[in-house]
Amino acid sequence: MIARFSIMLTALIFTTGAAAEVLTDADEVIARADLAAYYAGADGRSDVRMIISDSQGRQQRRQFTVLRRDLADAGDQQFLVVFSQPSDVRNTVFLVDKHMDRDDDRWLYLPGLDLVKRISAGDKRTSFVGAHYFYEDVSGRRPSDDTHEFVETNDDFYVLKHTPIDPLSVEFTSYVTWIDRETFLPMKIEYTNAAGDLYRRVEVSEVEDIDGHPTVTSSRVSDLLTGGKTDMQFRYIKYDVGLPETVFTERSLRNPPHDWLQRPER
């Protein structure tokens, strides 16, 4: 039911796009962007490849599969992240229950230590496994954590400035998002710190239509202070695969659901 509604909504956005009237409510824009970026389909899977480069261009790779299941659009979600590369971290698993009304629940399984661990979700703005992406970039920042205002609306983008409601909980003082007027996907995000410097940028470089959902397939986050960057590529994406709730349980930590982790045939 929820899933069907979600499909209809995204399809609507996608097809009507630019023809639709210009939105003037910042909160509405951000709500749609949140849906477009994090809630496509009722569930979904994707292989993710991360190339983490430091200022000297030295690289680290990470490859993992993300399974996602929405409990409600713009509401709670579940994620299962299973690492496949490099081989020494293979089958390391993160399980995240994302909540709207309280802190997320996060679990971790480390096969090398044969250890299941709950991770306190106090701070979501820590690095995601060494990348320049934060946990929050992967699971999505709650729109209600910030206040939103228009900077401008041009032919292509809604440009919004966001200010944190609890400034002590984050390392930025504000950020600006360029939201595509057609797809509602945030195409660029720039963060400013307390020193007034632009220190972090997230850019989307490729968007593909997958199962009717405009989907980011390539993006990059740059740490403008250190000169490091992380490129993220999404492949073998599929929506509405019918992931059952049982996939997102502690059982999956030690026993990853291989059937659901298989790459879909094209």
């Binding site: 790779r61 590369q85 490099p86 020494d88 090398g112 230590l113 250890l115 703005r125 995601f128 990348a131």
Partner: protein, 863 residues
């Protein structure tokens, strides 16, 4: 040639003036382009292997220069772990983060680092150590509890006794250290904290050092000039006579420094001493000319003729003393330390320039003096100082030396033996921080911080995995497998395999990704089978290449760390095993027994994956490279003394001899403290080479000058005795053999040989003139001895303004120059006649050749 030069000076004085003034002005203008260089690294040539490696390590692990702020609270029972202190620290850290030029992501402070901790059973928590300043004392103590569980922070960010904390402020460029330290000082003043704040760190030290060097050049050098001026005024009592040598000295200093700066050389601590070295040396020749002119000139005489005769007479000895002094300094070129070489080259240049300027400017100056002034000059000096204390002392000591020649020789030999024993006691040691005086804020900060912390001096033990032929072997096997793969996929893969791995991590990453993709798309079973084998092989090779993820090598590193700490030579060490152990412990529930390295490389990799899930994942790359092929053990030393660093190095050598690293691991040192040891070693051996080289060259020059190798040997006596004596004293008083002390040997050689030349040359002339050894030795203690003594005093006193210099090396040089002048003056005036008294006939052919007596025309010795 010499006639032409003197002719030029006496006939075209205006031209001479014009050229000298023009040169001085042009080159003087270049001085404004001065570039101060205070980087101790520059003591080594840019391509010196240890320096190259040190720089490579700094790049490899992204080490940047940092300003270090130390906070000390000695009053509160909990030290700095109290609300006020931590609030101030927090607020200061946040303010510093906003300053331009600060590398914010690498700033280390309690407020900017992460904590890994337990949050109830089974739950691990990653959080900022001190996101907000504590509000209650309990919260402050909580921070203490957390810090003490993290070995990487304890004794580095907060002292073990809890009384002191540090903020490491990495800066984008050394040039910013001064403005930034001022801004930080201003922030500290606004803090409203009773804690003691200290600012130090290498860039600050270097900056202060550069400033103090300017002070030295701007104050000490002119002061030396003034001192010499006053001294000469005392000896000659004629301002007009004394102004000429001062002009020579100034022109020499300005042209030499202008040339040095104009040629693009930076001014280092050594070269900053050039003015103060050239000043007295440049004056000496002029003094000879002026005093002889004053003696020879009679009112009404033609100044041109008199000065021409005087200069012609002094030309050769002056040329030789200048040449030998120049050789002494040029010998510094044999020491492969660029600042020392530049110093040697330009002092040598200055000495030769001073010689040229003397024989050009002084005659030009004299013939342009008004006849009345000349007459006054001669009348003043017509009462020679034959009855001064100096004159009487010299006469008496000379007679004593001649009478007790063998006794004095015996005493000298004994003194030599004592000196040699002293030399064996010399401790070779240096520490650039100790170039500041003991009460200097940087020394104070250094003392305070090292009292509380495990050490503020850095050195790095760098381990690098040498993969040998593992990569070529893998590539060959991969190519074999690819022959079985469908060409549609194999072509691209072959290219990837063939690409030379610059970054092994990226190479394996690209390859594995491509194989993985091909495997997904491939359809024939042969290809799939080969690709699966290739993937497995590549993954295995990749894991192997991440050498420093292996538990066995981490365990070994950990043991090396323990051994170094237990040895007492190292305050603390920080390395990859510490990170792995802490994360492992916290992952497993936080019990101390889990503070260990997990059993497999995969477990280590997963532990580190967790460490990287922090606010500061890049911190990991300060201790290991992203491909895990090189790792650094960061050592904190409480002392920057080269001796202490050498002890740590020797200890590790011995330890590794007994507990060898695997053959595929190479160990090398890096870090500023290590670099100091390297250049000091180079300095010690280089100085020995310089000294021996100069010794040989000067001996041959002497033998050539006197046309007599025996006299050549005699001329070497004062400088040999002085060098032995000075270093003997250094050994016996326990002064460390450091940079300034090392340079002294060549200075001694260059300066004290002058005295010997004058003494021997004049004795010989007197022998020839009087035909009698007795009367020659009588007369040598008149004007010639006085000239030597006066010069010794001028130079010795000329260096005394260095006592007021702000930096210790200058003071050392000032003090030892006085000692060197005294010693070489005494040996020349007492030991040489003592040796002559019993070895005269062996030394002087004139005394053997009886016919020489009759040839000698009777001339007054004073002429």
């Amino acid at each position: 040639m010499k006639h032409a030069v003197i002719h030029l000076a006496t006939e075209r004085p205006r031209t001479v003036y014009a050229v000298v003034v023009l040169l001085t002005v042009i080159l003087g203008a270049l001085i404004t382009r001065i570039q101060i260089d205070t980087d101790p690294e520059n003591m080594l040539p840019v391509d010196q292997t240890d320096r190259v490696f040190h720089n490579l390590v700094e790049e490899r692990f992204t080490y940047t220069d940092a300003i270090v702020i130390g906070v000390v609270n000695e009053n509160h029972p909990n030290g700095i772990y109290n609300v006020d202190s931590l609030t101030a620290l927090h607020s200061l850290s946040k303010s510093i983060l906003a300053l331009d030029g600060v590398i914010a992501p690498d700033l280390a402070s309690l407020s900017e680092v992460d904590n890994i901790d337990q949050e109830g059973p089974g739950t691990i928590r990653f959080e900022w150590m001190m996101r907000d300043a504590p509000v209650t004392e309990q919260q402050a103590m909580d921070i203490r509890r957390k810090v003490e569980q993290l070995p990487l922070l304890k004794d580095s960010l907060v002292s073990g006794d809890g009384k002191a904390a540090t903020i490491y402020v990495p800066i984008a460029s050394k040039d910013l250290s001064y403005p930034l330290s001022l801004e930080i000082q201003a922030l500290i003043r606004q803090l409203d904290s009773d804690d003691a704040y200290h600012i130090t760190g290498l860039p600050v030290a270097e900056d202060t050092f550069g400033h103090d060097m300017f002070v030295q050049m701007g104050i000490s050098a002119p002061l030396a000039g003034l001192m010499i001026f006053a001294l000469m005024l005392y000896f000659f009592r004629s301002p007009q006579l004394v102004i000429a040598p001062m002009l020579v000295a100034m022109a020499t200093v300005i042209i030499s420094m202008g040339l040095l700066i104009g040629m693009g050389f930076t001014v280092h601590i050594m070269s900053s001493m050039i003015p103060i070295f050239l000043m007295p040396i440049a004056v000496v020749d002029s003094v000879h000319i002026m005093s002889e002119f004053a003696d020879a000139y009679r009112p009404g005489a033609d100044a041109k003729i008199v000065i021409t005769r005087v200069v012609e007479h002094l030309f050769t000895p002056m040329l030789f003393t200048s040449l030998t002094s120049a050789v002494g300094f040029l010998s510094l070129m044999l020491t492969p330390i660029p600042p020392v070489q530049i110093f040697g080259a330009f002092v040598a240049f200055g000495i030769l320039l001073a010689f040229v300027l003397t024989i050009l400017l002084i005659p030009a100056y004299v013939i342009r003096m008004k006849p009345a002034a000349l007459d006054k000059l001669s009348s003043r000096s017509s009462t020679p100082h034959t009855d001064t204390l100096l004159a009487r002392t010299l006469r008496r000591s000379g007679r004593f030396a001649m009478r007790r020649g063998k006794l004095i020789t015996g005493i000298a030999v004994l003194a030599m033996a004592v000196s040699v024993a002293g030399i064996y006691r010399i401790e070779i040691n240096d520490n650039p921080v100790r170039w500041f005086k003991a009460n200097h804020p940087i020394r104070v900060a250094d003392d305070v911080l090292n009292e509380h912390f495990a050490g503020t001096y850095d050195a790095f033990v760098v381990l690098t995995y040498n993969e040998g032929d593992a990569i070529p072997a893998f590539s060959a096997a991969a190519m074999q497998l690819l022959n079985r793969v469908d060409e549609g996929y194999a072509a691209e893969l072959r290219q990837l395999v063939a690409a030379r791995p610059g970054d092994i991590g990226a190479w394996f990453g690209d390859m594995i990704t491509a194989v993985d993709d091909a495997l997904f798309d491939a359809e024939d079973s042969e290809s799939i089978d080969a690709l699966e084998q290739l993937l497995a092989m590549a993954e295995e090779a990749q894991v192997k290449s991440k050498y420093f993820q292996r538990p066995d090598i981490l365990q070994q590193i950990s043991e090396i760390q323990s051994a170094l700490t237990d040895s007492g030579h190292v305050g603390k060490s920080n390395a990859l095993p510490d990170v792995v152990k802490v994360v492992n412990r916290e992952l497993r529930g936080g019990t101390p027994s889990d503070y260990r390295i997990p059993p497999t490389a995969a477990a280590v990799a997963q532990t580190l994956l967790q460490y990287q899930s922090s606010h500061r994942p890049h911190d990991l790359w300060h201790i290991v490279t992203p491909d895990f092929t090189s790792t650094a053990i960061w050592l904190q030393l409480k002392s920057g003394d080269n001796q202490d660093m050498s002890l740590a190095m020797d200890f590790l050598d011995d330890y590794l001899a007994e507990n060898p690293l695997p053959a595929e691991v190479e160990m090398r040192w890096a870090g500023k403290t290590f670099i100091n040891v390297v250049w000091q070693d180079v300095m010690v051996t280089g100085m020995l080479k310089s000294l021996m080289g100069a010794f040989v060259v000067v001996f041959f020059m002497m033998a050539f000058l006197f046309r007599n190798p025996r006299l050549g040997l005699l001329a070497m006596v004062p400088l040999s005795v002085t060098i032995l004596g000075v270093y003997g004293i250094i050994g016996w008083i326990g002064k460390d053999y450091d940079m300034p002390i090392a340079v002294l040997s060549s200075l001694t050689l260059g300066l004290s040989v002058d005295f010997a030349i004058h003494f021997i040359e004049r004795t010989r002339a007197l022998l020839r003139d009087t035909g009698s050894f007795a009367s020659a030795t009588e007369q040598i203690f008149e004007e010639p001895a006085r000239a030597i003594a006066r010069n010794a005093i001028v130079i010795a006193i000329g260096f005394t303004p260095l006592f007021f210099a702000p930096l210790v090396p200058y003071i050392t040089v000032g003090a030892f120059m006085a000692a060197i002048m005294a010693l070489s003056g005494i040996t020349t005036l007492i030991l040489l006649p003592a040796l002559m008294s019993w070895a005269g006939p062996w030394l002087f052919p004139e005394m053997r050749d009886s016919s020489a007596r009759s040839l000698a025309p009777a001339q007054p010795a004073q002429a």
